[in-house]
Amino acid sequence: MSETMLKAQDVRFRYADDLPWAVDGVTMQVNRGEFVAVLGANGCGKSTLAKHFNAILLPYSGTVTVENLSTADEEHLYDIRQKVGMVFQNPDNQIVATIVEEDVAFALENLGVPPAEIRTRIDEAMEMAGIYKHRNKAPHKLSGGQKQRVAIAGVIAMRPDCLVLDEATAMLDPRGREKVMKTIRRLNREFGITVVTITHYMEEAAQADRVLVMNSGHVVMEGTPKEVFRQVDRLHELRLDVPQATELAQQLRAAGLDMPDDCITEEECAQALAKLLA
């Protein structure tokens, strides 16, 4: 049986009393070790939901629990923030210090970890994020993708159980994005860190174990990438794209060819086509 990492129960939230619900009755859960992608058009409430996972926002009604600790319980605030690390969109706005390694140490200093232990833990975190060789550089001299990996290192130095990425690749170029995604996949597979990633990139979502789709504050679709991306028309209705591989397979099926309806990667699509044309 898998263990529950994060759980939201009937969560509702709005930023002000005269504004509509940003999150409107969401119930979902993430299991330990899972890699979950959350999709949705702008303004669907996915970022708002993400900020509930480490008590940056507290639900107006309903509950959010992190390993059975309620985020509303102030006593455990710092335990929760240590367990669930957050990485945001703009790498420039989450780096505090002027030297990479000092920034990575920031959270541990806040937690009162002894200096000698900080040293070993930040070295380990920088290795895991692949930025160890840049440890003495000034952050503004790094590329966007490198800065974002500094931000990731700063979070995983806390040894969190879960990493929540709020459109962490949106501002990066393709190469930076690929490096960041590779780092995240490695953290998930090798170190067993649970990952929740909020993204606009369908190709990133295709790599997840499970995909949630949100629309106007609700979770409207849920399933494996194959189950979700198969519903091309539904996704278009929700103002979302599908990977080109899925789109191509779908259009060929519509034209009467015998293509599987669950192609989500280019390899699957190419294999299916090769079989067709062999």
Partner: protein
Amino acid sequence: MIRDITIGQHFPGNSVVHRLDPRMKILLTIGYIILLFVAANPGGLVLSAVLLAILYRVSRIPLKLILRSLKPILPIILFTIVLNLFFISGEGEPLVQWGFIRIYAEGIRYALIMGARIICLIAGTSLLTYTTSPISLTDGIERLLAPFARLHLPVHELAMMMTIALRFIPTLIEETDKIMNAQKARGAQLDSGTLRQRMKAMVPILIPLFISAFRRADELAMAMECRCYRGGEGRTRLKQLRFTRTDWAAAVVCIAAFAAVASTNLLFQGL
């Protein structure tokens, strides 16, 4: 251009000067500033400048950087020099007399002293920021001010604010550059027209800059909370501050040098 501003920036390195305890460096910098005012004679200033040049050499910071960072303050330096040149009246005949303008030998002397003093002051304090990472700088300030925390002075908060300000200087400079270019592309004229027109032309740059700074502050605050920031209480440090033998040696050497330079004041008094 605006990117040339290097004041307050850190140039990582591994020289002796880089490795000194920030507290010692701050105290010695204060000592140097005092020296610049004590050694109020040409010889003393020349020696102070030489002393600083040696320190730059030891810390392996290219002197070119100084020239670049002095550029934006050039108007202030020139203004001070001109002011002293024209308004200090000395004894005896003026060297130059042209209408109401009178320049005395005394004026030239003061103008040069003041000019040299400002340059040394900026170059000296820049050496501190070049060789000390802002975090250890603020660390040093925080420790030095620690006794005042008992008087309810928000020492940690001040230090944190300084760190963040320093961290965001390059980011905001870059941003200013971007916004200036964007408005120039929309036909803004930033470098011509009357003073009034120029002030007005700055509005389209300052407003977006402020808005962006506030947005950044907001996001940074959230990112800091996510990393369990809760003020100075119970915080530890990656890098512990400890005075080493090198620090004491540096202190002895510098204080001796300062004293030697200061003593020139007696020597050159007649000049």
